[in-house]
Amino acid sequence: MQDPKTGVKSQPQRLVITTIPHAITGEDILSWLADRFQIDTQEARNFGSMLVALGYIYPLQDHKRLVIKPDASLYRFQTPYFWPTQQWPVEDTDYAIYLAKRNIRKKGILELHEQEQYNRLHKWMNHKWDFIVMQAKEQYRAAKERKKPDRVVFDCQERAYWVVHRPPPGTVSAMDYGLDRRIDPNADEVCPTLSLVKYCATYNGHDPFLSKCLPSNPWITDDITYWNLNMPNVEIPTKMRVERWTFSFGELLSDPRGRDDFRLFLKKEFSGENLAFWEGCEDLKWGTAATMREKAEQIYKSFLARGAPRWINIDGKTMEITVNGLKHPHRYVLDAAQTHIYMLMKKDSFGRYLKSPVFKDTLKKAVCPEEHKYSDAQLEQNAKNRRPSLSPIVLRQQEKEHRAKMAANAPVDITQVMSKLSKTGKEVDFPSANASPSLPFLAHSPACPSPISVALDSTSASERRAEAGEGGAAGIPEARAPAAGSVSRSCMPLSLRRLLKRGCTPSTMFASLSPKYHSAAGTSSRIQPISPDQPSQAPPRRIGNFFQIKVDIPPECRIYPIESEDEDEEENRAASRGGVGAKEIICPWESLTPQNGTG
């Protein structure tokens, strides 16, 4: 269609002083379509409208109505960059940046619905607002450097893109595709049945019926070494077991030893809250109905609320759905958030785990036992020595005692509490069937301790608690972590105290990209832990966002023109700080007092 010779006739459009090239009229488009496809005008009109509705062609005048008009109204082809087929994830962050940018350019230019969206995003993305405003400014600045016609064209294109993806209320959006499918039929280009064959091939070596069981199959030789080596929480796993963890993320999580290893890795990466949240959700899903409501509340307070101690990073839309659902909690209310976090771990952390020193270390230490070779006489002897195994009831009692001991010794910290949450959820004391399983943390910590108040002591015990209360992204030493060895002290507490002495409020602690404080993060959209002396990990994961200008500013030489900042940024920052104070975290269904105004 865009072919200069055989395509739609195009002409330059005049706009005050500048000219926009390649504008086409509605009637030309329609006549071209009718000609090309040999269809009548009505059909051409419908087809043309679909092209406009999906954003392949955009109107220059009356840009809010995405229809094609069979007259001299002007349209342009959208740049392929913005085509829906590119399948860029249309994130709220980008939309926020776009709105902020327009606001900067000219105040009061936002439409009513855009203003509402802006305020809503401001509320939800409060923690990122500095970043968003910064991006908006950068883009605005970069745009100023372009030539005017290019700029106008780009602005039109961008505006058109957002009209398609964030339609004004009352309009039909062509992007609406209904419910998400459970199974994506297009996901596997290869015949899905092939995946079954692959599965068999992958697990062939692990199938005791098809391959040798090392050292020997206990049912055949009556030697239980195999079972002893593969106990659920053994210190040193076997090589086969470790290999199985690499097959899929699900395998890693479902093996308790694998999950422990992964937890250790996450702790080092300061994203342990993801796994803890996932475990909490599992516990909610499979737990007893009686305690469900409390559990949901606890999870909200610990992971989802604004300013929560172990805040997890989920996108605005999922957060909105989840919080709305929590007003009437049911066991599947956290499903959306849980899936999001699960996929995050699967697609991101899992890959890194497999390359990490934690995993490599475990693999190196893993044992590979030699095959048993018993003579017939020995086999008979083995058979005579059969002993019954330890009853699961006994094992459970032992585990309980062990945990009680650990709980008595260590100060209360959140991870332990959370892991208990996931454990107690699984077992029920039947003899005391009327009492719902006691949730120890409820006794110890009625509300999540304010991170600031615990950090101001200087005793070692509270230093640990300070680490515990540090913030959503920070790692927390596990009081009981037999596999992990001694508690590793990172440099976190030092920097935290340094920050606290400078008197930062909780909100700015989390808005880690605020320029006034040291911040290790570049422009990643994930909140990075606050520790400049932390060894540089892999660069923070950048979600492919074409809108955002990637700015790699090392923390030390961050030249952020604080003095020259515009009025609105001050306003924005003040507004974001004003809302999230050191207030107690209130669950949405508990209080009716409005938290933040509408910005």
Partner: protein, 349 residues
Amino acid sequence: MACQGLQKGETLASLKTESDGLKKKLEVERGKLNDVELHQVAEKTEVLGALSIKTRRVLKGHGAKVLCMDWCKDKRRLVSSSQVRTSTDLWTREHGVSLPCTWVMACAYAPSGCAVACGGLDNKCSVIPLSLDKDENLAAKKKSVAMHTNYVSGCTFTNSDMQMLTSSGDGTCALWDVESGQLLQSFHGHTADVLSLDLAPSETGNTFVSGGCDRKANVWDMRSGQNIQSFESHESDINCVKYYPSGDAFASASDDATCRFYDLRADREVAVYQKDSIVFGASTVDFSLSGRLLFAGYNDYTINAWDVLKGNRVSILFGHENRVSRVKLSPDGTAICSASWDNTLRIWA
């Protein structure tokens, strides 16, 4: 639409032919989408060597037909139920605990290993906490959880001790909260007795499959109670359904002497396991750990081991003296346990 009376010119017979015609069309369409059979895809896979699977243990102690069994997660204990009572047997000769439940057609071990569930012709499924004290009167602690209007044919715990799924002769399946006995979700859709169910193994699994006397195998979403997929290719009652270890497929055993394999993503049957010499119904199936082997118990007292990918039978296990009622793989895949109407259980490895 379905509730309207007959229109002019329509008769019941004509509607039936129309519905059959539509079903055939559906099959044709399904076939067009993925016209590859499993054994074709698996052509390049190596052929399995001969398996030497033998009986390693014979567990005696039941005084009547053993109808069902389940493994404990500790890989060494199991619970089995019979016409007269349920007992937990250990793998040594020590006697297990005998629990008083009559007419037990279904039993399951709780994931923690500290309780068992059993149900049957009493229309209920009860949970019994286990204890170390052998003399303790466990009958007193029995707690009714599920209440159906007909016999309970299958039961299983979900990921925790606190929820249970049951299938029943009244044509429904149900999800229960163990603590309170509350019905959390019910699943309607079968038009006859539901004989078997199995929970999806995946970690994000929220689905299960059920098979019934209406020859259908249905896949359900536990959250919404909706029937998301349905397969009807057996020619007779489906006695048992079991998920493939990856969760993307499942197998079924039926009175029509065949076992069939269904791929959930391709949404169709991809293999049939049958042989002219097998004329007795299959009552139970289970996969080996890799999913390569399918063990099926038949009413001719044998267990056949099939190569899932190639479709041929790899081995026959003889030993039982009456029908095989249940076959189950141990949690770590090291052995298969079979329960039979000859009052015994056998462990094969």
